[in-house]
Symmetry: C3
Subunit: 337 residues, 3 copies
Amino acid sequence: MTATLAEIAAVCDAELRGDPADEITNVASLHNAAPGDLTFYANKRYRADLETTRASAVMLAATDVPACPTASLVTEDPYLAYAKAARFLNPAPEFAPGVHPTAVIEANADIAADCFIGANTVVGCNAVIGARTYIGPGCVVEAGVKIGSHCHIHSRATLMERVEIGMRVLIHPGVVIGADGYGIANDSGRWLKIPQLGNVMIGDDVEIGANTTIDRGAIENTVIEAGVKIDNQVQIGHNVRVGEHTAIAGGAVVAGSTKIGRRCMIGGASAIAGHIEIADDVVLTGMSGVSNSITQAGVYSSGVPITDNMTWRRNMVRFRRLDELARRVAAMEKLIE
Amino acid sequence: MTATLAEIAAVCDAELRGDPADEITNVASLHNAAPGDLTFYANKRYRADLETTRASAVMLAATDVPACPTASLVTEDPYLAYAKAARFLNPAPEFAPGVHPTAVIEANADIAADCFIGANTVVGCNAVIGARTYIGPGCVVEAGVKIGSHCHIHSRATLMERVEIGMRVLIHPGVVIGADGYGIANDSGRWLKIPQLGNVMIGDDVEIGANTTIDRGAIENTVIEAGVKIDNQVQIGHNVRVGEHTAIAGGAVVAGSTKIGRRCMIGGASAIAGHIEIADDVVLTGMSGVSNSITQAGVYSSGVPITDNMTWRRNMVRFRRLDELARRVAAMEKLIE
Amino acid sequence: MTATLAEIAAVCDAELRGDPADEITNVASLHNAAPGDLTFYANKRYRADLETTRASAVMLAATDVPACPTASLVTEDPYLAYAKAARFLNPAPEFAPGVHPTAVIEANADIAADCFIGANTVVGCNAVIGARTYIGPGCVVEAGVKIGSHCHIHSRATLMERVEIGMRVLIHPGVVIGADGYGIANDSGRWLKIPQLGNVMIGDDVEIGANTTIDRGAIENTVIEAGVKIDNQVQIGHNVRVGEHTAIAGGAVVAGSTKIGRRCMIGGASAIAGHIEIADDVVLTGMSGVSNSITQAGVYSSGVPITDNMTWRRNMVRFRRLDELARRVAAMEKLIE
């Protein structure tokens, strides 16, 4: 849709420096924007693109206005303002209600009249699906699943039996929620499977990325609290609890029974051990490995930086003997004293 | 179902300290258990919960009996005893045989009469499915696949052509078995795909977690031996062999042609290079990176621990020069001598 | 099929030492080959197998001929020669064109007459599918998707709306292309979803492994250039560009807006941060973590090697204080001076 700069400034709570009547048709990147586009500047890496952008307007911080060759929308948080403008210019498409003739709806499924159920999707016995919820093609909603209103479940997701999903939840393709947790006990060298009797509870406004898996609890429930945003290919083990408004980036693995606090940011490809607790407001940079509880808010990291392979090989030899090196240093210090 | 403490003690081979006639209806966690529940104590982290549990009975080690406020089932391995009790109280649900009318069964598929084939599942030509096997909705069983008896394949799994699955195998949603291995050869800067001609053989009593992938062999077969338990989001490359009763936790990656021994425990998010061998009874802690063969049983680890980001950044600078640091220490040692 | 050694030598551009009329029926590994099989020797780990192979012929380097007990096909790159021979002996199977009666084809989908569309596959409005393309069962091709000619899309892949796929692209089961990127902005502690308005462009001759996910761009497109080969369980974030003929092994994670050059080799389970650039011809060994741009071609590594758990625990304590250790060494050096 089209909007004036004045309308966008109002939506984004930004201060306009430019013609309020100028019309914007969509958002674009600094580099690719053309006249009629709105863009934003929030990362110094793209400074050169700011100075040469052809956009009709740029959202940016007050200090960057001098470098901007076009109209500005000044705000403390240009990325957030961009998010608001992009949502305003691109409202979610409406869908026509209906159940595709190839969908399989089992007995006693309770589907609100204004839902959409896609081709070849299976809805099991006693499942309950709330108002204005969209379920794409090829999904499997097992018996007794409860899905709230205004959810959007893309194609080929599986919700296992009795899983409960809140309102306005967004689930991308290939997601599996409520598969058995990894519960096995060793019986004289063989593994005995432990029945996974808990459930999964997904709060309101959660987003779950493509091919992510969230296991059902062993005896208690796995809980994803409201507002949590999970990227693709994430694995959440049984009995895990993720606190409100926490974000978990792609490829992260959270082992069973761990509690993650509220408003945490878990970097991509991180691995978090089982049976530990992460405090509220913890930030893990990418590829962090966490084997013990983190009790204080803050930014944490692990791993070692990339080097050329030759240097790395030499450092590795030393690393294997790091404890010995430290002892030698201590011995010398004593001697010198 | 309901059982008496006497029955449960017999099933679990535990020594009962309490009223043999007391009735148990299900299992629960120490924290959430109510009267009528059975629970277990196997991890010191939960000591406070033991002392205040409302469960009717607790499975625990003899040394912990004094701290238990209720009936005890004394055993050397409370977790194993719990597994046995949970299985006894929660037998696998029966299913009615049948082929869903929307399932697509191609020519000459040989499906035992007492199987269940779910909605929209496709079974290819000449596939063979053994007695009492359940295949959920949305699966794709390609031509020539052989599945043994008493398997349970949840929704939306793909078994590629000719894959062979043993008996009592449990496969969770989204699993892909027998896709092409990653076989490419470099031809003057372009990659030439190598036909993947091997197969995948899955032994009896294997469990495979949601969205896990196991590639078919390049020329030989990929082999998962009996009793192996694989968690979610694991990647097993072509020609890999995983020995009996090995457990592989979530997000682990095993590159091609590697042989993993028997009774190993591979920690979550570990990565194992190709063309190496891991001995029997090796334990890798989480997020281990293995680039060379491991020839002896034992517990192995890699990675560096998490620290606050500031300390980590300083350590990283030093790490890049670890070899140089070691040389400087050696030089000083010489000097002092 | 069957071929003579002379034919194979011609296909592979190898020098034959043996009887040109000898017939080969297929390829096999050094260890398992029987008479009638062709094999190759390219990895010193398998030297013993070379010396005892029962194959009819071995492809190998000139220096290894003396150790070969049978006919040789001498070439500088035995692995590439093997790839060519395996392709020659195992041509891709033909398929009969047709649309399975259970496939759901929406309005205005433009499917070439010689395509195959499998059971329960859904093709959305205005999708375009080129000549001789095969789409297996259970796929979801959303509205407006464009797929070139001679592609092979295995079962249960999802291509989200408007995604564009080149020619001869091979997509394995469970792949999701074009799901929303992970775009969220923090609004006073809550996450606001940013509409993902870009697309995904997949070049010619790309291969994408099972359960891999490639997100659509936020405003620009995610681009996978021609000839790129991606293994299983890989995650490619929004706006990423992967240069021609780059190979990405299993479980790697590439965060948003990163540009990877041409002819790179990204090791399995590697993690690459967002908004950085990797030069052409960079090789990352397995499980590398990259947080900054790499501007020069070469081999790079990170991570620390596996050790027995006891040694690792001691080294970890030292690692946490590596900066302090370096300071102590520097202080001593000053003192000694």
